[in-house]
C-alpha cells in the first residue's frame, strides 16, 4: 500500500484534453465573433441559449419541437383493424434526449437497484411504519424515523454477514487449535491499515501452551497485511545505522542474548561498576578513536546465531504469514528479561517491560579555587577595579552613586552607567580621555577636588546625612558643566576661577596658532587676549591676571577677565579633543558606500603652481583609464579599447560615503576651480612678458610699460593705420625670438623658484598666517599690474611682501619706519597707504588678511562674490551693445537696460575689484592712488574708461552726499524762518 502511494506519481490520471502547446511566433487567432459562437448538440443541431442564468436552451429544431417540420400534435386514430390503445403518457414522452443524458433532468444510467442499495427499505416495514405513523402522536408523521436512519452498510458486508461472518472476525476458513486473539484482546474489529496492537503478540505467546479443545475451530484472526517499509538506503540487508541511544550512552537496555561475549548478568547486576567498554559514538562504520586502545569491535559482526538454522514450521499466526525475517524482528526481547532476572520478583509485581528512562543529573559547576563568596556592593570601586578607568571617573562615580543608590545597588540596566554596561558587554574602553577631569593636570584636579570638597562640606554641614563614608556630597552639576554658572551653589568669582581652570586645560599645550579673534575691533584688547592665550598655552595659571592691563579700573578689568575666559572657552581648540573622543565605526553598511572615481586627481595646488610657472606638461597632465561605451566605439568606427570589460566611463571604486576624504576633495577643487579673474593684460605678446620679467630696475620697467602703452593705444585711436604700426612693432620684436624665448622661460622659472624658496624660509619662522599670505603673494606676482610694476622693482616687491608679513607680528611703529624707508621710491604714498591698510586689516584674522592682500592690487582676485558669479562659467554677451564706453557708463549709473541681473553682474565684473576696494577701504586713498596712476601712466583706453567710470561714480556719490548735507543745512537754516 505504501509502495502504491509512492508510485502514485507515475501513473497519474489525466482528465480532459490537453491544450496544444503554445507556439511563440504563431499569430494571435482572431477572436471568434459572437454570431459565430454556436453550440450544437450531438446531432449537429444548433442550440440557442435562452437565459444566461437558467442555462436553458431552446428545445427542438430551431426553436421548433422535434424536427424540421416542427411540432406536430399526435393524432388520435382508431379503426376497426387497429383499435387505438389507451396510451399512458409518461413524462419521458415529452423529454428530449438530452434530458436522459448524464446531465439531464432524468439521467438514464446503470445503477444498483433499490434492493441492493444499502439500507434499502422493504415495503413491509414501510407499510408498518406508515400504519404506526397514523397512530402516533402526530398523525402521518415519520419524522423520527427519517431523521434516525440506520447506518448504511455496503452490500458486501451484508453478504458476508449472511455467509456467517461476524464483525471482528477475520475472513477465511475457520482454523483449529488457536483461539482468536480478539477474544482475549479487544473486541473491536479494525478495518483499514491500523497496526496490530503491540501487546497482542506477547499475549499470544503466553497463551501458547493453553488448552485448546480439538473439535473447536476458531475464526481466523482479523489481521491486516504486514506493512513492509521499503528500503530507502543503499546499505545492505541487515544494516542498522547509528543508534542514538547507544551513542549517547543512555539507557539502552538492549541485551544481546545471542552474543556469547555479552554478559547480560553482569550488566544487570553490577551494571554500574562495569561500564560499557566503548562510549561515545558507536555504530557500524565508525572507527575507533585515538584515545581508545581496543579496536576489535569496529565493524558489525553478524553472528549466525541471529538467524534460524533449521526450518521450523512457524505458526502463521505470528502475524507474518510465512515471511521469514531475521530473528531480531520476530523474537520478543522483553519476554526473556524475566528469565534473566534472577532476583526475586515480589508477588503481585512483574518486571517492567520498559525500563524507566535514566535521569541524568549534571553536577554543579566547580568553583574556582580562589573564589570567595563575597558580594561587592560598591559600584565605584567595582568599575575602577575591573576596567582601568581613571580614578577620577571612579571617584566621580563613587560620589555620585554612593549617595544615590546605596541601598539598592545595580537593580536594573538603567541604573548602570556606561562604564558598567561596557563591562557587562565586554567592550573595550575608549581610547581617549574618559573624563574631562583627565584633561586637567593632576594638580588642578586636586585643586578642583579641594574646592568642591570645601564647598560641599560647607553646604552639607547643616544636613549631615547618613552616608558618612562618602563625605563628598555629589555636586548637582557634573564637572563638565562647571562652566555654566550654578546659581544656587557658587558665588560669581569662584565660577570664573573654574572657568579659568577649564580654559587653562583647554589651551594648555596647544600649539595651534590659528585662533579666532573675538576682539578684532579693539586691537589692544585683542593683543591682551592673545597674550592671555599664549600664557594659557604655556600653562600659566595666573595667565589672566598677568595679561590684563594694570592701568585699567577694577571694574573694567573684571569685565575683561570674564570676557577673556569666556572667549577662550568658547573658542578653544577642539580638534584634538574630538579626535580622541570619537572612534571610527567598525562595521560598514553597504548603503553607506558611494562610488568614487578610482583614480583621484592629483594635488591641485601643485598643478596651479605649475600653471603659474607655465610648466605645462607632466605637471598639469593627467591620464585616466576611460571606458567608452561599446556602441560609441562602433559609431566612431573604432575598436573597443577594452573588449572584455563592461565598464563604462571612469573606473569607480566603492568608498565610504561619509569618509572625510570624499568631502575634502570636492570643496577644495570647487574653490580652486574658479580661478580669480585676472588683471587686465597690458602685454601684447609674450615677448613683452619676458621683457618685464627680465628687467630688474624700475626705470627700464617703466620704459617698457610706456612703450607697451604707446604701442597699444595706437590701433584703438587711429584704427587700421596704427594697426599696421603695432604689427610693425611686434615684427621688430620677433627677430630676437628664439633667444628671449628660452631666456624668458628660464627667468620665469628662476623668479618663481626664488619665490618658493623665500616662501619656505619664511614659513619656518613665521606662523600659519604667513603661508596664507605668501599664497596670496604668489597670486599677485602672476600678472603684475602696470601700476605695481611701475612702483616696485621685482626685488622691492618681495621685500615689501615680506615686510607686510612681519608687520602683522610687529607693531605699527615698524610700519612707520618702513614708510620712511620707502619714501624715496616713486609713489611712496601708495605703498604706505597699502601697507598701513594692510596692517590694520591683517592683524584681525587670517581670512581678512588674505582678503586684504588680495585687494592690495587694484585688480587682484576677488572673493566669494566672483565665485558665485563664475559658477556657471563664462556668460554670453548681452543682446545689444551700444557704444561700449557709453553703455558702460550708462550701466554704471543706472540699473542696466537689459535688467537681467546676470548680465549686469557679468558686466560689473570688470570693475568689481575696484568696487571691492571701495567698500573695504577708504575711498579717498583709493582715489588718490588712481589719480596718480592716471597722471603718471597712460593706460589702455578700456582701462581708463573704466577708471573714469568708477571715478565718476565716486564723485557722484561724494557730491550727492555733500549735496545732501548742504540741503539739510539749508533746510535747517530755513526752518526757523
Amino acid at each position: 500500500m505504501a509502495a502504491d502511494s509512492n508510485n502514485e506519481k507515475d501513473d497519474f490520471v489525466s482528465y480532459g484534453t490537453a491544450l496544444e502547446p503554445l507556439e511563440e511566433d504563431e499569430p494571435l487567432k482572431k477572436p471568434v465573433p459572437i454570431y459565430e459562437q454556436t453550440v450544437r448538440d450531438e446531432k449537429g443541431r444548433y442550440q440557442r441559449f435562452h437565459g444566461a442564468f437558467t442555462g436553458g436552451f431552446s428545445a427542438g429544431y430551431f426553436n421548433t419541437v422535434g424536427s424540421k417540420e416542427g411540432w406536430t400534435p399526435s393524432t388520435f386514430k382508431s379503426s376497426r383493424q387497429s383499435k387505438a390503445e389507451q396510451q399512458q403518457a409518461r413524462p419521458e414522452d415529452f423529454m428530449d434526449e438530452e434530458d436522459f443524458g448524464e446531465h439531464g433532468i432524468a439521467p438514464r444510467e446503470i445503477t444498483r437497484s433499490a434492493e441492493f442499495q444499502s439500507g434499502h427499505r422493504d415495503l413491509a416495514t414501510e407499510k408498518a411504519r406508515a400504519v404506526n405513523a397514523q397512530s402516533s402522536l402526530i398523525p402521518g408523521d415519520t419524522l423520527l424515523e427519517d431523521i434516525i436512519a440506520p447506518a448504511q452498510s455496503s452490500i458486501g458486508v451484508e453478504l458476508l454477514k449472511k455467509m456467517g461472518w461476524r464483525e471482528g472476525q477475520g475472513v477465511g476458513p475457520r482454523v483449529k487449535r488457536k483461539p482468536k486473539k480478539q477474544k482475549t484482546g479487544e473486541g473491536v474489529g479494525v478495518y483499514g491499515c491500523a497496526l496490530p496492537p503491540s501487546g497482542s503478540e506477547g499475549s499470544d505467546e503466553e497463551n501458547d501452551d493453553e488448552f485448546a479443545p480439538e473439535n473447536v475451530t476458531f475464526a481466523p484472526k482479523d489481521v491486516t497485511p504486514v506493512d513492509f517499509t521499503p528500503r530507502l538506503g543503499l546499505q545492505g540487508l541487515g544494516y542498522r545505522g547509528l543508534d542514538p541511544g547507544l551513542a549517547l550512552g543512555q539507557a539502552s537496555e538492549h541485551i544481546n542474548l545471542f552474543d556469547p561475549q555479552f554478559d547480560s548478568k553482569g550488566k544487570l547486576f553490577g551494571g554500574k561498576q562495569k561500564q560499557s567498554r566503548r562510549r561515545g559514538v558507536v555504530g557500524q562504520g565508525f572507527g575507533v578513536g585515538a584515545l581508545e586502545d581496543e579496536d576489535e569491535d569496529i565493524y558489525h559482526r553478524d553472528s549466525m546465531s541471529k538467524y534460524d538454522t533449521e526450518i521450523k514450521d512457524e505458526e502463521p499466526t505470528d502475524g507474518l504469514f510465512g515471511w521469514t525475517a531475521p530473528q531480531e524482528y520476530t523474537k520478543k526481547k522483553d519476554s526473556n528479561k524475566d528469565a534473566s532476572y534472577i532476583g526475586k520478583i515480589l508477588e503481585g509485581f512483574t518486571l517492567a517491560q520498559k525500563s524507566e528512562a535514566l535521569k541524568t543529573i549534571f553536577p554543579p559547576p566547580r568553583l574556582p579555587r580562589d573564589y570567595r563568596p563575597v558580594r561587592r556592593f560598591n559600584p565605584g570601586t567595582f568599575v575602577s577595579h575591573v576596567t582601568g578607568v581613571s580614578p577620577a571617573l571612579a571617584q566621580a562615580l563613587k560620589t555620585s552613586r554612593g549617595h544615590m543608590d546605596k541601598d539598592e545597588p545595580q537593580t536594573g540596566r538603567h541604573q548602570l552607567d556606561s562604564g558598567q554596561r561596557r563591562v557587562l558587554i565586554g567592550e573595550e574602553a575608549l581610547q581617549g580621555p574618559s573624563s574631562v577631569l583627565d584633561l586637567l593636570k593632576p594638580a588642578d584636579r586636586e585643586r578642583l577636588k579641594h574646592i568642591r570638597k570645601s564647598k560641599s562640606s560647607l553646604q552639607t554641614q547643616p544636613t549631615k546625612d547618613s552616608n558618612s563614608q562618602s563625605a563628598l556630597r555629589p555636586s548637582p552639576f557634573p564637572p563638565t558643566s562647571s562652566s555654566k554658572p550654578a546659581p544656587n551653589v557658587t558665588p560669581q568669582p569662584s565660577i570664573s576661577q573654574e572657568q579659568q581652570q577649564e580654559a587653562l586645560s583647554a589651551w594648555k599645550g596647544q600649539t595651534t596658532t590659528q585662533t579666532f579673534k573675538p576682539f578684532e575691533k579693539n586691537l589692544e584688547k585683542q593683543e591682551r587676549y592673545e597674550q592671555y592665550l599664549n600664557r594659557l598655552r604655556q600653562g600659566d595659571k595666573d595667565a589672566l591676571e598677568h595679561s590684563l592691563d594694570p592701568q585699567m579700573t577694577e571694574w573694567e578689568r573684571s569685565r575683561e577677565r570674564e570676557e577673556f575666559v569666556r572667549a577662550s572657552i568658547l573658542y578653544r581648540p577642539s580638534s584634538s579633543f574630538l579626535s580622541s573622543r570619537f572612534t571610527r565605526g567598525k562595521q560598514q553598511d553597504d548603503d553607506d558606500t558611494v562610488e568614487v572615481n578610482r583614480d583621484e586627481e592629483g594635488d591641485l595646488d601643485d598643478k596651479q603652481a605649475a600653471v603659474k610657472m607655465k610648466m605645462f606638461g607632466k605637471l598639469t597632465r593627467e591620464t585616466f583609464e576611460w571606458h567608452p561605451d561599446k556602441l560609441l566605439c562602433k559609431r566612431f568606427n573604432v575598436p573597443d579599447p577594452y573588449p572584455g570589460s563592461s565598464l563604462v566611463g571612469l573606473p569607480k571604486v566603492k568608498r565610504d560615503k561619509f569618509s572625510v576624504f570624499n568631502f575634502l576633495t570636492v570643496p577644495e577643487s570647487r574653490e580652486t576651480s574658479v580661478p580669480p579673474p585676472k588683471a587686465p593684460e597690458v602685454k601684447k605678446s609674450r615677448w613683452d612678458v619676458s621683457q618685464e620679467m627680465k628687467d630688474s630696475d624700475a626705470l627700464s620697467e617703466m620704459l617698457s610699460a610706456a612703450r607697451d602703452q604707446s604701442s597699444e593705444i595706437g590701433p584703438d585711436q587711429t584704427g587700421t593705420m596704427d594697426q599696421t604700426r603695432t604689427k610693425d612693432q611686434t615684427r621688430t620684436d620677433t627677430p630676437a625670438l628664439p633667444a628671449p624665448d628660452s631666456k624668458d622661460q628660464q627667468s620665469d622659472i628662476r623668479t618663481e623658484t626664488k619665490e618658493t624658496l623665500n616662501k619656505d624660509s619664511k614659513e619656518d619662522s613665521s606662523d600659519s598666517d604667513s603661508d596664507s599670505d605668501s599664497d596670496s603673494e604668489t597670486e599677485e606676482t602672476r600678472p603684475p599690474m602696470d601700476v605695481f610694476k611701475a612702483i616696485f622693482s621685482s626685488s622691492s616687491e618681495e621685500k615689501s611682501s615680506s615686510e607686510s608679513e612681519e608687520e602683522k607680528e610687529e607693531q605699527k611703529k615698524e610700519q612707520k619706519e618702513e614708510q620712511g624707508h620707502v619714501t624715496h621710491i616713486l609713489f611712496n604714498i601708495n605703498t604706505a597707504v597699502t601697507t598701513t591698510t594692510l596692517s590694520v586689516t591683517t592683524t584681525s584674522s587670517v581670512a581678512m588678511a588674505t582678503a586684504a592682500t588680495s585687494t592690495k592690487q587694484n585688480t587682484a582676485p576677488s572673493t566669494s562674490q566672483t565665485e558665485e558669479q563664475e559658477w556657471f562659467g563664462p556668460k554670453l554677451p548681452p543682446p545689444s551693445f551700444a557704444l561700449k564706453s557709453s553703455s558702460r557708463d550708462l550701466r554704471a549709473r543706472s540699473p542696466s537696460p537689459s535688467s537681467d541681473e546676470k548680465h549686469r553682474k557679468s558686466k560689473d565684473k570688470k570693475h568689481k575689484n575696484k568696487k571691492d576696494h571701495k567698500h573695504k577701504k577708504e575711498k579717498k586713498k583709493k582715489k588718490h592712488k588712481k589719480h596718480k596712476h592716471k597722471g603718471k601712466q597712460k593706460k589702455k583706453r578700456e582701462e581708463s574708461s573704466s577708471d573714469s567710470d568708477t571715478e565718476t561714480e565716486h564723485t557722484t556719490s561724494d557730491v550727492s552726499t555733500e549735496e545732501l548735507l548742504r540741503r539739510l543745512k539749508t533746510v535747517r537754516a530755513q526752518c526757523p524762518l
Binding site: 596651479q608 600653471v611 610648466m615 597632465r621 559609431r635 575598436p639 573597443d640 587686465p680 578700456e942
Partner: protein
C-alpha cells in the same frame, strides 16, 4: 602710413570685409561654417537657426523649434543633417532640406552650450552647463544617450570632435581629451575657466582660450605648452577661438570688438581686426579658404583676405 605694412607672404589673413549680413534673429550666439564652407549657420537668440549661403549672403532656410535661444549648431558631413543646442536643455537634429525636426534629444539638466557631430554624423555630442557631455545616437531611435561623460565638475563650455577624439573645455579649468581608440582620458589643467577649445588641423595640438585672456596651444600628446597668445580681452564672456585653415594663425574673439590674430609659431599679434564696437561673440574659419565669419550682436560679417571682385556686387544689407 609712413611705411608700407609688411604683409605676410604665404598665408594671408582675412582682413577685408566682404559683406555684412543682418540675421534678424536677435543677437547671433554662434556662427558656423558647414563642412565645405559654402554655407553657414547662425544661431539666434530668438530661438531660430538659420542657414545662409556664404557666397550670396542669402537666407536659405530658417529652422525653428527650439524653446529658447540657440547656442550652438553643427552640420553633418553630408550636409543632410543639422544639430543645434539651446538653452531649453534640448538638442535638436534637423533635416536640412525639409527644415523639420528629426529628433529632439532631451536629457541635459541645464542649457546646452555646445554641440558637435562626429565625423560620420552617427553621434551627436553635446556639452551642457550641467557638466556632462552626452553622446546621442543618430542611427537609432533611442531616447537615451549612448554614454554620459560626467567627469567635468563644472559647465562644459566647448567641445570638439576629431576622428576618434573628443575634446572638451570646462569651466573648472580643465581640458579633457577622451581618446576612444586608446580608451583614455587626458586631463590638462589650465586653471582658468575655459571658453573654447579647438583641435589644430593636423590634430597634434589643442588650442584653448580661457577667461584669463589667454590662448594656450598645447601639445596634444604630452600636454606641454607650445604657445601662449595674449592681448585680447576675454574675461567674462564665452567667446570663440579658432585656428586658421592651415594652422598658420590663431584667432580669438575679444570683448573689445576685435578679432585678434596671432602667428601660431611666433606668438606675435599678426592682426587685430576691428569688427565693431560690441563683443565679438562667435566666429568660424573657413575650412579651406582664408575666410572668416564673425558674429557681433545681430550681424554676421564675412571677411576674406582680398576683396573678390566676382562676388562684390551682391547685395548686402547693413
Amino acid at each position: 602710413m609712413a611705411f608700407p605694412a609688411p604683409r605676410p607672404e604665404g598665408p594671408q589673413l582675412p582682413q577685408v570685409l566682404l559683406r555684412t549680413v543682418d540675421c534678424l534673429q536677435g543677437p547671433v550666439r554662434a556662427v558656423r561654417f558647414n563642412v565645405d564652407g559654402n554655407y553657414f549657420l547662425s544661431c539666434g537668440a530668438d530661438k531660430s537657426l538659420k542657414l545662409w549661403s556664404v557666397n550670396r549672403g542669402t537666407l536659405l532656410k530658417t529652422y525653428s523649434g527650439h524653446g529658447y535661444e540657440v547656442l550652438d549648431a553643427d552640420s553633418s558631413f553630408d550636409n543632410s543633417q543639422l544639430c543645434s543646442c539651446s538653452s531649453d536643455k534640448s538638442v535638436i537634429l534637423w533635416d536640412v532640406a525639409s527644415g523639420q525636426v528629426t529628433r529632439k534629444l532631451r536629457g541635459h539638466a541645464g542649457k546646452v552650450n555646445c554641440v558637435q557631430f562626429n565625423e560620420e554624423a552617427t553621434v551627436v555630442l553635446s556639452g551642457s552647463i550641467d557638466g556632462s557631455v552626452r553622446c546621442w545616437d543618430t542611427r537609432s531611435r533611442r531616447q537615451e544617450p549612448i554614454q554620459i561623460l560626467d567627469d567635468a565638475r563644472d559647465s562644459i563650455s566647448s567641445l570638439k570632435v576629431a576622428q576618434h577624439e573628443l575634446l572638451t573645455g570646462c569651466v573648472d579649468g580643465r581640458l579633457r581629451r577622451y581618446d576612444l581608440r586608446m580608451g583614455q582620458l587626458h586631463v590638462d589643467f589650465i586653471s582658468s575657466p575655459i571658453t573654447c577649445v579647438c583641435f589644430s588641423a593636423d590634430g597634434q595640438c589643442t588650442l584653448s582660450s580661457s577667461l584669463d585672456s589667454t590662448l594656450r596651444l598645447l601639445d596634444k600628446s604630452t600636454g606641454e605648452l607650445l604657445g601662449e597668445y595674449k592681448g585680447h580681452q576675454m574675461k567674462g564672456y564665452k567667446l570663440d577661438c579658432c585656428l586658421s585653415s592651415k594652422d598658420t594663425h590663431v584667432l580669438s574673439c575679444s570683448e573689445d570688438g576685435h578679432v585678434y590674430c596671432w602667428d601660431l609659431v611666433e606668438g606675435s599679434l599678426a592682426l587685430k581686426l576691428p569688427v565693431g564696437k560690441a563683443v565679438v561673440q562667435s566666429m568660424s574659419f573657413h575650412p579651406s579658404q582664408c575666410r572668416l565669419l564673425t558674429a557681433m550682436e545681430r550681424h554676421v560679417q564675412l571677411w576674406a583676405n582680398e576683396s573678390e571682385s566676382t562676388e562684390e556686387s551682391m547685395n548686402t544689407d547693413t
